[in-house]
Amino acid sequence: MLQGCVQIALTLAILVAIVPFFGRYMAQVFSGQSTRLGAIARPIERVLFAGAGVAAKRPMTGTQYISAVLMSNLVMGAFVFLILMTQERLPFNSTGLSAPSWDLALHTAISFVTNTNQQHYSGETTYTYFSQVGALGFLMFTSAATGIAVAIAFIRGLTGQAIGNFYQDLVLSITRILLPISLVGAIALLIAGVPETLGAPVQATTPEGALQWIARGPVAHFEIIKELGENGGGFFGINSAHPFENPNNFTNLLETVIMMIIPASLIITYGIMAGNPKQGWLIFWMVFGLYAILSAIAAIGEFWGNPLVNNVLGDIQPNLEGKETRFGWALTALWAVSTTGTMCGAVNGMHDSLMAPGGFVTLANLFLQIIWGGQGTGTAYLFVFLVLAVFLTGLMVGRTPEFLGRKIEKREIVLASLILLIHPIAILLPSAITLAFPETLSNISNPGFHGISQVAYEYASAAANNGSGFEGLGDNTLWWNLSTSFSLIAGRYVPIIALILLADGMTRKQSVPETNGTLRTDTVLFTGVTAGVIIILGALTFLPILVLGPVAEAFNLG
């Protein structure tokens, strides 16, 4: 118990220590201030911009920005789809893999271009080194950078600046943030024992004399961007539970912290760019508080273990099913909350085996999408909730609601509502269809309440662009590949379009000076109200499915 608490506390303390520095660094990068890395990065960026022929300094309008995001993503997705389909004839195919089915390749391409990395396959037996590193690894950088660029554009818009240039922010995100950290992090992982090789799988003989193939590959560099970019697509099927992806407690700590630093720091970046660091910190602590509460619920659930098992044992034993013993209940629970909260989606244990409270928490994270939230987009959603909270509270103090001095009117509410609306559409609708035909569509492994959790989790993971699986589903079917693709696309691009339009509209609004009658948004009271709005709106939307899934499961376990 004590050891588990210390492990969790240490991880959180490291996160809190890093956030102010990293948040300020990102603010400097995107405000065009010089940083120490600039000297190295600038020549590379210059070559890139010249090569691409992009006039990167020119700020874009909202529609230009949106079409830049959509077009670049479409081209990248199509390119990766082609590589996957032709991987048989491409180099670095040491295991002689053939092309996957078209629907799996399509789902994989969409899943990676949307920064989700939902995997309906096992990497080591489906995709070649070239497909994984050259195609999927490429998208891991660009999709993460897309998210950061959108968040920065959104923050700029909210604070009344021009939203900026997508290509410039995309490149800066890679050259100044993702690439340097990945470089250092990959070396650290390499030292800690993660393999990095192009060599084919190794044949080994087990003590019993049986022949075994041990898969390996260029894992270390793939692993670090998987966590940093909140991608989550494992090189191996069992993801970070695999000893080659996450061999020991050091790599586990590194990977847990690094999956949270960008979304957590972006909140601080917002505070600095908005000229109101206090508000940034208030929001940070609000999210931190929710995160800590959810972590505690999941951890306690695992610690108390399964009552049915405990009854047999006559003792309270932590639930260790689906866990790696080197991490134990505490670190697996913390990872589960972090990975579903941040939309990373990597796993170091099987979520299907979490106790009901863990299932509840991971699902709640996917529904709320803001407990750190997706790369960039999570921070933006956070501000959408802030806008909604401002609207309600603003009316309650008798003024047209305003956020950062800009009025929240019909247009803002329509766009914020769109984000609010698309999530249940992308989750509940396909879940209902799948559960309406459980025999033909669902491939559920555990019937009953747990089966509902499995299905809802899969679509929630897709719609929230998380990518983790509750697992237990036979999900490489035409239905699952195509229906989750719908959730992936709807959950990614509809909100991005709405966010950019929202930010673009705010840019053009005249700012209203602050008076005594202005509702201050950087107070504990307002932040508390925002937390209430987030919880109530989230709870009202997803409570029934949570009740039928993990809640009913918990009550029925005793």
Binding site: L388, F391, L392, T393, L395, M396, V397, G398, R399, T400, I408, E409, K410, I413, V414, S417, L420, L421, P424, I425, L428, L429, S431, A432, I433, L435, A436, G448, G451, I452, V455, A456, Q510, V512, P513, T515, N516, G517, T518, L519, R520, T523, L525, F526, V529, G532, I536, A539, L540, T541, F542, P544, I545, V547, L548, G549, V551, A552, F555, N556
Partner: protein, 684 residues
């Protein structure tokens, strides 16, 4: 100068509305509003109405959509409750409309169709109905006639009884080419002499018509905030529709199927029916409150904008101080005696009919001064903005003048005289007292200074203090000199003042404030106020003002009381607060309803522990939640009509208060109420 009415409470207001059969009529209308074509305007309640129809069908045949567990009796009860939910919402709207209509009827009774003498191009007259008059027509009215339409006096001097609209019983003098007295309102009665009037409004477009349309809700277009809120409510409704519609497959999957009646019950409980049912009543009641204040607003948008005002630009005279400055003291200079000053002041003011002039005469006579010339042979010199003085040309050729100290100084110099040294001291003394100094002279000799005392309206300081706490800044405009202005500003507690202001300053101040992103409200009555009234975000014109001013403004105060602007700020804020508070309350209610209905719905799924209220049975739980959901609407009608009480607090303290009352209250109240209703039901 205005001719403001007495203090507001002494005035008779708009004719009293007849509210006797308000509720019977509202109930009948509530039924009439069940027409789907009307219901569709309110998407939230429309959905409830559709649900009612479906459960009604299920009452007749519970198994029409497949076998369900809910009985016909239960379905019938649900149908009944849902029907009442819809009716209560319709009733709320009908009551608000009814109150407005009653007021409109009272107004309309003042407006009877009359005949008027229209003057044709060749100068001849024709008798036409007032309904046939068009903007630009000229009409002749004489004593006893009803003035047929809003208009501007072109010729003639007459007294008009305007009590029908202002409630002020004293007749008002109307004459052409005057800022205050040249506009007449349709429906008022001319009681002496005759006037030639140019009609300025087409039939049905006059003030009273506008007021009627507004309070009746006929011309009510939704305000920007209301539209944004409607969008949010519609989206929430849509979200809940998705939530409920996708519930059957997972429920079937765990062998705990849910009947349609229960699904509809959950949907109705979740969608924001409370605020959805009361939203339009809140809006109508807001306009009604404005009308009760005797203010005509051209749009609801203008009323809402009042709540957003950052800066009030106020004229000193009539708003901050009582309109009439009174002579308080004569201060002799240049070795003259007080009696000499009084005599000259009397001579210079004998033709001055303004309240100030009269007060000078009174003060001088009180000191024993008399005229030493034949009044008939003397000639009055009127005040003009250019000369800034007035006076009398005496029979002996002497010129007695009084006016702004600078102006008199110039006058004396032009007559070869010189200003005495102690004039400056007298000027400063009066200014430091917050009074207006008027110099008095005869020919080339300045006799002294009249101290005109400005009286600050009682209670105005508190109101500015309240405004400051609400974050509204006040700027006082005055023609007074800097020292006087500073003293009055300090005494009244305005935030800023502009002395020696011209009408052009007004528009400049407004533009400056607007450039900084602020919303500005102002009052005005003169023609030269019109551009500023149009420029301001909220322009409140005085009914006694000119037609140009009234047309430029977006609100007209029938009582011509500029202080009302402050009340309007409160009304605007109250309107928004009521909406926000009830929305929050409505959403917060959902938590308790979930805890009542979800355990009841999935009673077979072993989630009985979620029934934290310990409700008697699944049926009673659902019915209790629905009954609460229906009853809360009529329970909140009085609040919706009256508006949430507004306190002049800072935004943060206001939020804290309202979150506590409507947020936390909204979470807790339904838990208690549903439990109580359930106890009642289970007693049967």
């Amino acid at each position: 100068m205005r001719q403001p009415g007495g203090p507001r409470q002494q005035r008779r207001h708009t004719p009293k509305a007849n509210l006797s059969d308000l509720y019977q009529r509202a109930f009948k209308e509530a039924l009439g509003k069940l027409n789907p074509k009307i219901m569709i305007r309110n998407p939230v309640m429309f959905l409830v109405w559709v649900g009612t129809l479906i459960t009604a069908v299920l009452t007749l045949n519970p198994n029409i959509f497949g076998v369900t567990e809910t009985s016909a009796v239960f379905n019938g009860l649900v149908t009944l409750i849902l029907l009442f939910t819809v009716l209560f919402a319709n009733f709320a709207e009908a009551v608000a409309e009814g109150r407005g209509r009653a007021q409109a009827d009272a107004l309309r009774s003042t407006q009877t169709k009359t005949y008027a003498q229209r003057i044709l191009a060749d100068g001849s007259m024709e008798m036409v109905s007032s309904a046939d008059l068009r903007r630009g027509d000229r009409v002749k009215v004489k004593a006893g006639d009803m003035i047929p339409a809003d208009g501007e006096v072109l010729d003639g001097v007459a007294s008009v009884d305007e009590s029908a609209i202002t409630g002020e019983s004293a007749p008002v003098l109307k004459e052409p080419n005057s800022d205050v007295a040249s506009s007449v309102t349709g429906g008022t009665r001319i009681i002496s002499d005759e006037l030639i009037i140019r009609v300025t409004a087409d039939p049905g477009k006059g003030f009273i018509d506008r007021m009627i349309a507004l309070v009746e809700g006929a011309e009510r277009s939704k305000t920007p905030n209301e539209i944004a809120l409607t969008v949010l409510l519609a989206v929430l409704t849509l979200v809940f529709l998705i939530v409920v519609a996708t519930l059957p497959p997972p429920a079937n999957y765990i062998n705990s199927p849910v009947g349609i009646t229960l699904l509809i019950s959950l949907l109705v409980a979740l969608i924001p029916t409370t605020i959805g049912g009361l939203l339009s009543a809140i809006g109508i009641a807001g306009m009604d409150r404005v009308a009760q204040f005797n203010v005509v607003a051209t749009s609801g948008r203008a009323v809402e904008a009042c709540g957003d005002i950052n800066t009030l630009v106020l004229d000193k005279t009539g708003t901050i101080t009582l309109g009439n400055r009174l002579a308080e003291e004569f201060i002799p200079v240049n070795g003259h005696s007080r009696a000499e000053v009084a005599a000259i002041a009397l001579a210079a003011s004998i033709f001055d009919t303004t309240p100030e002039g009269k007060s000078i005469v009174r003060l001088a006579e009180g000191m024993g001064a008399t005229l030493d010339f034949d009044r008939q042979k003397a000639e009055g010199v009127e005040f003009s903005a250019r000369t800034r003085m007035s006076g009398t040309d005496l029979p002996d050729g002497g010129e007695a003048r009084k006016g702004a100290v600078d102006a008199i100084r110039g006058f004396v110099r032009s007559r070869g005289g010189q200003a005495p040294e102690d004039l400056g001291r007298a000027y400063e003394r009066v200014s430091n007292l917050g009074g207006t100094p008027l110099a008095v002279c005869k020919d080339d000799d300045i006799y002294g200074v009249i101290y005109l005392k400005d009286i600050i309206k009682p209670g105005i300081q508190e109101r500015f203090d309240q405004l400051r706490r609400m974050g509204v800044r006040t700027i006082m405009l005055t023609g007074d000199n800097r020292i006087t202005a500073a003293v009055i500003a300090k005494e009244a507690g305005v935030d800023e003042f502009i002395a020696e202001a011209t009408p052009e300053d007004k528009i400049q101040v407004i533009q400056q404030e607007q450039a900084a992103g602020k919303l500005v409200a102002m009052t005005g009555d003169g023609t030269n106020d019109a551009p500023a009234l149009a420029q301001a975000n909220v322009g409140l014109a005085m009914n006694s003002g000119t037609q140009a001013a009234k047309e430029a403004a977006n609100m007209v105060d029938l009582d011509s009381d500029p202080t009302k602007l402050i009340d309007l700020v409160t009304i605007g804020k109250q309107l928004l607060i009521t909406r926000g508070a009830l929305t929050t309350f409505s959403l917060a209610n959902d938590i308790a309803k979930y805890f009542a209905i979800i355990p009841a719905m999935f009673a077979s799924a072993g989630i009985g522990s979620l029934n934290i209220m310990g409700l008697h049975s699944p049926q009673s739980a659902v019915l209790s939640a629905l009954i609460y959901n229906a009853l809360i609407i009529p329970a909140l009608i009085p609040l919706a009509l009256r508006g949430v009480k507004f306190r002049p607090l800072s935004a943060n303290s206001l939020l804290q208060r309202n979150i506590l009352v409507y947020g936390f209250g909204g979470i807790i109240a339904p838990f208690v109420a549903i439990k109580v209703i359930d106890l009642g039901i289970s007693a049967f």
